[in-house]
């Protein structure tokens, strides 16, 4: 991989390139969704694909998330590999029945005769003043469903590599893209200027084909004082909080929630003896609860302090109170202190 040429890319460009690379390699890949064809998607993730691959491989869909997933099931049954976009994760619910009852269970209920190799991509998370219906982080509604894999990248390099891996994966993958960091990483300080990806090493995205394997976490900062488990936008918020507070934390970017890299988690927590879990989603029954339960079950005798969760509040995402809702630097700092001082 080191010999490959790289190009500076933000997350949108990296995701766009993953599509292109894979569509060139595999004629069975079809890409569709609301506004994804001619226009290339409201976030432009599929820009240029229709032009390059033609109208029958990249096309607009009716505004029917249920129909998008439902027809994708039929296409996968035929032998195609659909990579569909749901315009916002908040709008995935009309397709939820097809995902839960059909996509997730098809391999199982047909004893492997029919499989559902598809990727359901969707911009997700808050921090863009999108209000209640353009800000949600519904990953826990998918991690509970056996048969689905759930992937959430945190930077351009991973986004491309994970998306290619997801497309090549024989199982259905829910691929949530934290839209707050499409154009640049976010340290949680909403009142500071935005940094573009260009200044971040992970924006050096290799051209061509490479993968970041599903099910493998990344230790994005090694440390001894505590383990921080997180993913997506919160990776950057957590890293910034750790640095700002001068804490020698080990920060783990989970990248894939199911299947989870339990080894990386166990190894780190057994080493540090302390664990903070950071999610943007609503706290109750979020994926953080599963992480907390697992850490406690597997590392109980190594824990020197309670496992702490940082999360969004148990309210809808309120438009004007975005920065009171968002788990920002202060919430992080206090939680880090709590874990360290307990």
């Amino acid at each position: 991989m080191s010999a490959t040429k790289t190009t500076g890319r933000n997350m949108i460009q990296a995701i766009n390139d993953a599509h292109r690379v894979m569509m060139e390699r595999d004629p069975d890949i079809v890409v569709f969704g609301e506004d994804v064809g001619y226009f290339g998607g409201v976030f432009r993730a599929t820009e240029g694909l229709q032009k390059q691959f033609g109208k029958t491989r990249a096309f607009d869909a009716p505004i029917s998330e249920g129909g998008i997933i439902g027809t994708a099931v039929g296409m996968a049954a035929y032998g195609l590999k659909p990579v569909v976009e749901i315009q916002f994760a908040d709008y995935i619910y009309p397709g939820y029945d097809q995902i839960v009852s059909e996509v997730a269970k098809m391999r199982y209920r047909t004893a492997g005769e029919w499989t559902m190799p598809m990727v359901i991509r969707s911009p997700y998370g808050g921090g863009i003043f999108g209000g209640q219906t353009h800000s949600q982080s519904p990953e826990a509604l998918f991690t509970h469903i056996a048969g689905l894999k759930t992937v959430i990248p945190s930077n351009p390099y991973d986004a491309k590599g994970l998306l290619i891996a997801a497309i090549e994966d024989p199982d259905p993958v829910i691929f949530f893209e934290p839209k707050r960091i499409y154009n640049g990483p976010f340290d949680g300080h909403h009142d500071r200027p935005v940094t573009p990806w260009a200044k971040h090493p992970s924006s050096a995205v290799p051209d061509g084909h490479y993968t970041v394997p599903l099910g493998k976490a990344a230790i994005v900062r090694a440390g001894e004082a505590l383990t921080v488990l997180t993913y997506g936008t919160m990776v950057h918020v957590a890293l910034a909080a750790v640095e700002e507070n001068g804490i020698d934390a080990e920060v783990i970017d989970l990248r894939t929630l199911v299947p989870l890299d339990i080894e990386a988690i166990e190894q780190s927590v057994k080493k540090t003896g302390r664990c903070l879990i950071v999610q943007e989603a609503t706290r109750t029954s979020g994926f953080g609860a599963e992480l907390s339960a697992l850490v406690q079950e597997r590392c109980f005798y190594h824990l020197e302090a309670p496992v702490v969760r940082v999360a969004g509040w148990d309210t809808p995402y309120p438009h004007a109170y975005e920065w009171v809702y968002f788990p920002g630097p202060i919430r992080l700092k206090n939680a880090l202190k709590k874990v360290l001082e307990a």
């Binding site: 009716p62 249920g66 027809t71 099931v73 296409m75 049954a77 035929y78 195609l80 009852s101 005769e113």
Partner: protein, 429 residues
């Protein structure tokens, strides 16, 4: 408390909610005199490449080929050769014999559940006969006739019903939720309606690939109310997908009559009008009409002329399933009073009228089918019946959640094996 009504409108007439109710309930004499039954042969047959509009009068009509004497009449007569007719008769009888035996098997405690399609046998059998073997069906649970007509072994069906060692679905699915790729029979879902947009997606894929195979999706009258029905029609219309979308209107959805799905206001075929696609309404108890209409729609789809919605009008002659007793919500004797008759009797009469069949051959066939089904049952039961299942090959139940077993499921498999060891007092087989 409701908000107080504004006084300014108090002189308006009171609104009233219309709650649909079938004309007859238990205790009433069955009566179908309100059902319109046009003469066989009367409906016109548009060209398969006709504009969709030209088919729309057929959405409130009824395509019928067999008249009361069993004669095939009119432009929809598919003019099938006697061998094909006899084959269809045999398949329809096979389905009925099979249903009866499996219903009994459930009653004997050999499995958990069963669903018959009595009175609806012509629909799946004739549709299967009209399509190419390479075409695919996305069925509901009442299209066992597709599998029978496509030659899927009865033993395989029974193995699935018993969830036994021979079950290709490894005991994972409720009885009758068959799935077989080789016979172009997509996995039946417990969730109503989901298969409808899936059929459209398969057809879209076939068109994307420049293939020649088409798809057929199936749904019941009751399930047309699901959102998936609309997704399917919308996507089929928008992309002009090569698909046939069938509504089997047997007038009941468990205890709810078809008025709860909108049948008081419009036929199900009429939905086609709103999407601007072709639509046909067909006598579902007339095997020749079913064959002709299905073939017409298949030819239309295959020649890039777009999708067709077909309503097969029929009557669910028995209970919804082994869990249902219809005498609780509709008059006894309705199946007998149903004016479109019994599809098997009608096809038989047609063959007899052609001098291609007689009572002796009919009796012989019944006997032969009874023996065939019994033999299949004996064979299947060698693989076991449901109450004996559930502790063989435990690892299999942890497979196929994903292509590979991830660590958390592998751990659970270990635990399940340990539990089984303890429960059985021996190594699970």
């Amino acid at each position: 408390m409701t908000d107080p009504k504004p006084p300014s409108r108090s002189n308006r007439p009171a609104l009233a909610l219309h709650v649909p109710e079938p004309a007859y309930r238990p205790g009433d004499a069955p009566d179908f005199s309100s059902i319109m039954v046009p003469a066989a042969g009367a409906a016109p047959r548009p060209d398969v490449a006709a504009k969709a509009e030209l088919t729309h009068p057929l959405c409130t009509d009824l395509v019928r080929v067999l008249d009361n004497q069993g004669k095939a009449v009119g432009p929809w007569d598919p003019k099938l050769d006697p061998d094909t007719l006899r084959k269809m008769l045999k398949y329809m009888k096979t389905v009925r014999t099979f249903d009866d035996r499996m219903y009994r098997a459930q009653r004997q405690g050999k499995t958990s559940f069963y669903m018959k399609c009595t009175g609806e046998e012509a629909i799946a059998v004739a549709a299967a006969t009209a399509m190419d073997p390479e075409d695919i069906h996305f069925p509901t649970y009442r299209q066992q006739g597709l599998l029978v007509a496509r030659g899927y072994p009865l033993v395989e069906m029974m193995n699935q019903i018993y969830s036994n060692k021979g079950d290709r679905l490894q005991g994972r699915q409720l009885p009758i939720m068959y799935s077989d790729k080789k016979h172009g029979f997509f996995s039946i879902s417990g969730n109503l309606g989901t298969q409808y947009p899936q059929a459209v997606g398969w057809a879209m894929a076939s068109a994307i690939k420049g293939d020649s195979r088409i798809a057929m999706g199936w749904i019941g009258d009751g399930a047309t109310a699901e959102g998936d029905f609309h997704s399917a029609l919308t996507f089929a219309a928008v992309y002009q997908a090569p698909v046939i979308l069938a509504v089997v209107n047997n007038q009941w959805a468990i205890s709810s009559f078809s008025g709860l799905a909108g049948a008081e206001q419009a036929t199900f075929a009429s939905r086609a009008v709103g999407y601007g696609i072709a639509g046909l309404r067909v006598d579902g108890n007339d095997a020749l009409a079913v064959y002709a209409a299905t073939r017409w729609a298949a030819d239309r789809a295959r020649s890039n002329n777009g999708p067709t919605l077909i309503e097969y009008f029929t009557y669910r002659a028995e209970g919804h399933s082994t869990s249902d007793d219809p005498t609780g919500y509709r008059p006894a004797g309705e199946p007998q009073a149903w004016p479109l008759g019994d599809p098997i009797a009608r096809l038989k009469a047609h063959l007899v009228g052609l001098d291609e069949w007689d009572d002796d051959r009919d009796l012989a066939l019944d006997k032969q089918l009874d023996a065939t089904v019994r033999a299949a049952q004996k064979e299947a039961e060698k693989n076991g019946i449901l109450p004996q299942q559930g502790f063989d090959d435990i690892p299999s139940m942890f497979e196929d959640v994903y292509a590979e077993v991830p660590w958390h499921i592998a751990e659970q498999r270990e635990q399940a094996m340990a539990e089984a060891r303890e429960y059985l007092g021996r190594e699970p087989s």
